[in-house]
């Protein structure tokens, strides 16, 4: 068992990573910095999942977000604009209304959270969750599980259709099936 001060230190490390990364994503002037800061946020959140003994979700978070989503965003970034252009086309405007919204809503949300859950400090001890999730997916949540497969099919088809518009002449040896002859 890890001693309490070390646990707290690790928590604040992950939390700080997530929050600082988030701020950097939202307010960095350089879009490439934003994308890499997102990596920090995802890693921090994955650490927090591990802290909450959601071991399976932590691993999946790393695989899907860092390995999938982030790489996708970086590809889009590299393909759409050079770094210099990104700097120009990326101004921070409307900072004052943004700050007002931030202060107003955060005050409300923080007040409500503290009022509501301020008393509970101790979490029950964690158990490995993978088996529980597997059981749930095949019993209680079997219908959502099936629905999401249809959703992914539709998205796969749609993404191919959007991209396919320009693939009139497929390169030899390219992905067969969807390209237009």
């Amino acid at each position: 068992m890890i001693p309490e001060p070390v646990r707290a230190l690790l928590f604040y490390l992950c939390a700080g990573l997530a929050l600082a990364g988030g701020c950097w994503v939202a307010f960095a002037r350089n879009i490439v910095h934003s994308a890499f800061a997102l990596l920090a946020t995802f890693a921090g959140v994955a650490g927090l999942y591990a802290f909450l003994s959601a071991d399976f979700l932590a691993v999946v978070q790393l695989m899907i977000y860092v390995g999938g989503v982030l790489v996708l965003i970086l590809f889009a970034l590299m393909l759409t604009s050079r770094i210099e252009e990104a700097r120009v086309s990326n101004p921070t405007i409307g900072l004052v209304p943004g700050a007002v919204v931030l202060i107003a809503v955060s005050a409300l949300l923080v007040y409500a959270c503290v009022k509501e859950f301020g008393g509970t400090t101790d979490l029950p001890p964690g158990e490995p969750t993978t088996a529980g999730i597997g059981d749930a997916l095949l019993s209680r949540y079997v219908l959502p599980f099936e629905v999401i497969s249809v959703l992914l099919l539709a998205v796969l088809l749609g993404a191919v259709t959007i991209a396919g518009g320009r693939l009139r002449k497929p390169a030899p040896g390219g992905k067969p099936g969807k390209e237009r002859p």
Binding site: L109, E116, L138, S139, R140, Y141, P144, V147, A154
Partner: protein
């Protein structure tokens, strides 16, 4: 250990959804198999329509009941079945419109139809969802294909831009909704709507602002997702841009079906989930009727005022659809049985008149290349049939007496007046004033059709016989339901008889 399989009983109740899924795969396989065939488009349309018709038949065969299905994910009560019928009817019209329109490339019709059926499946699930996870997934199954279909006019910059705006703001709206859902999950300890409703009501009885604050924040955040789907203020900004940029056959569908399913989900979220609020809440209860009523007033006013200045007919109809969302929101705010009856009655009527109006816009655009009000000038002489049915649809949208739109609006307003509360009297007055404003811009199109000469000598506008037949099929019920609405009302009442 084998999981408990008892919850899987009642699979017959999701037969319509299973048929729709089967249709998706049938069209997918046929689309690939017939890649070289000249008759591919016709075969795909036929299969899609047959699949949708089979799903509609399956709905008629489902015995409605309020018992939860699939471990409480879904419910197949009369309310859900009625909404499913409406969205499947809209999907049939939407599929035919796509096949008629030159805006959808022939070689992409298969993909279009597949995504359309996926979307319909999502709406059917949305109408019956009684669990937050199911609700969220169904909403995304409606949203994600919509984003793709909005950008389906290839090579058209407006279409891609519309799709991009739709997806970026849609993602943000679902982010807000998800945060609200996560707070509700924590507050209630369950994802089931009735369980959440019970927890929220118990919290309301505790009284005091502190106990209610987090619930209010969570519900307002959740509301964002629904408001985006039905294009209610303040999440209506995407609507005119997407309607203008997206292909017209898809806009005709988008303006009716997701709105119907969104309102069904919203009603279930507030009524089945939160205990039925009737009229104005007592002190200590949550002010949902007040919040929704204010949103309704804002939505109809913004929609109608913005519509006045529009020259593009698709943008004009976009603002008009925002205004209609406002009228429906008024009934959701009331939440009485009479109001639910009004909403259910309004949905098929709205389907008829709005899809009809968009079909005329599509025909005029295909013939003249114009989507502006000026393009309608002299339509009465160039295509009398089109001009007359357009007048029927537009006056019905206004809510002028012998037409179906009047009956729909009558029941909505009657529900508001029945509450006998000052607040809903005020909402109803705002609604009536808005209807008068809407007459101005609807009549502008009709005046352009009949009283204005075309700018230059233009050839007569020709309508193909399938489009003409479809127009007739939409216009005749719009006329008949205005005089003889008894049977439709009977169906609605039968659907609502069962306990929800």
């Amino acid at each position: 250990m084998l999981p408990d399989l008892a919850g899987l009983r009642g699979g017959a109740a999701i037969l319509p959804e299973l048929v729709l899924t089967g249709t998706v795969f049938a069209v997918l396989v046929l689309d690939l198999a017939l890649r070289r065939s000249a008759r591919r488009g016709r075969v795909l349309l036929l299969v899609t329509c047959l699949g949708l018709a089979a799903a509609a038949t399956a709905i008629a065969g489902v015995s409605a009941g309020a018992q939860p299905l699939f471990y409480g994910m879904l419910v197949a009560d009369g309310f859900a079945l009625f909404v499913k019928g409406v969205v499947i009817a809209a999907a049939v019209v939407g599929a035919i419109l796509a096949a008629l329109s030159p805006e959808i490339r022939r070689d992409q019709l298969g993909e279009y139809l597949i995504l359309l059926v996926c979307l319909t499946l999502g709406m059917c699930l949305l109408a019956g969802a009684r669990n937050l996870l199911m609700l969220y997934l169904a909403l995304e199954l409606v949203s994600l294909p919509s984003y793709i279909l909005a950008g389906f006019r290839h090579g058209d910059r407006r279409s891609s831009e519309a799709a991009l705006k739709y997806v970026v703001f849609g993602a943000a709206a679902s982010g807000l909704m998800l945060f609200g859902f996560s707070l509700l999950y924590g507050l209630a300890g369950t994802l089931d709507l009735p369980g959440i409703g019970a927890a929220v009501v118990a919290r309301g009885l505790q009284g005091g602002l502190d106990a209610q604050l987090l619930v209010v924040v969570a519900v307002l955040l959740s509301l964002a997702g629904f408001a985006y789907k039905v294009a209610a203020v303040p999440f209506h900004m995407w609507c005119p841009d997407v309607y203008e940029g997206a292909p017209t056959p898809f806009v005709a569908f988008l303006s009716v079906a997701p709105k119907a399913a969104g309102f069904a989900a919203l009603l279930r979220f507030f009524l089945s989930g939160f205990g039925a609020p009737l009229g104005f809440p007592a002190p200590g209860e949550f002010p949902w009727p007040f919040v929704l009523g204010v949103l309704a007033m804002a939505t109809m006013t913004v929609g109608n005022l913005a519509a006045i200045t529009q020259d593009n007919v698709k943008r004009l109809l976009a603002y008009s659809s925002i205004a209609h969302a406002g009228y429906l929101l008024m009934a959701v705010a009331v939440g009485s049985p009479l109001a639910i009856r009004g909403v259910l009655l309004y949905l098929p009527i709205y389907l008829l008149m709005n899809m009809g109006a968009f079909l005329v816009v599509m025909a005029v655009h295909d013939a003249t290349g114009s989507e502006t009000v000026d393009g309608f000038r002299g339509l009465g002489a160039r295509a009398p049939y089109l001009a007359v049915v357009m007048a029927v649809f537009l006056f019905s949208l206004t809510g002028i007496p012998p037409l179906a739109g009047f009956i729909g609006k009558f029941f909505l307003f009657a529900a508001a007046l029945q509450t006998k509360s000052m607040f809903f009297y005020a909402v109803a007055v705002v609604g009536v004033v808005n209807s008068v404003i809407s007459l101005y811009y609807y009549a502008r199109i009709v005046r352009a059709c009949f009283l204005e000469k075309p700018a230059d000598a233009q050839a007569p506008v020709r309508v193909g016989s399938p489009a003409a037949a479809l127009l007739g099929a939409l216009a005749v019920p719009t006329l008949v339901l205005g005089i003889w609405w008894g049977p439709l009302l009977g169906v609605v009442e039968k659907a609502l008889l069962l306990p929800r």
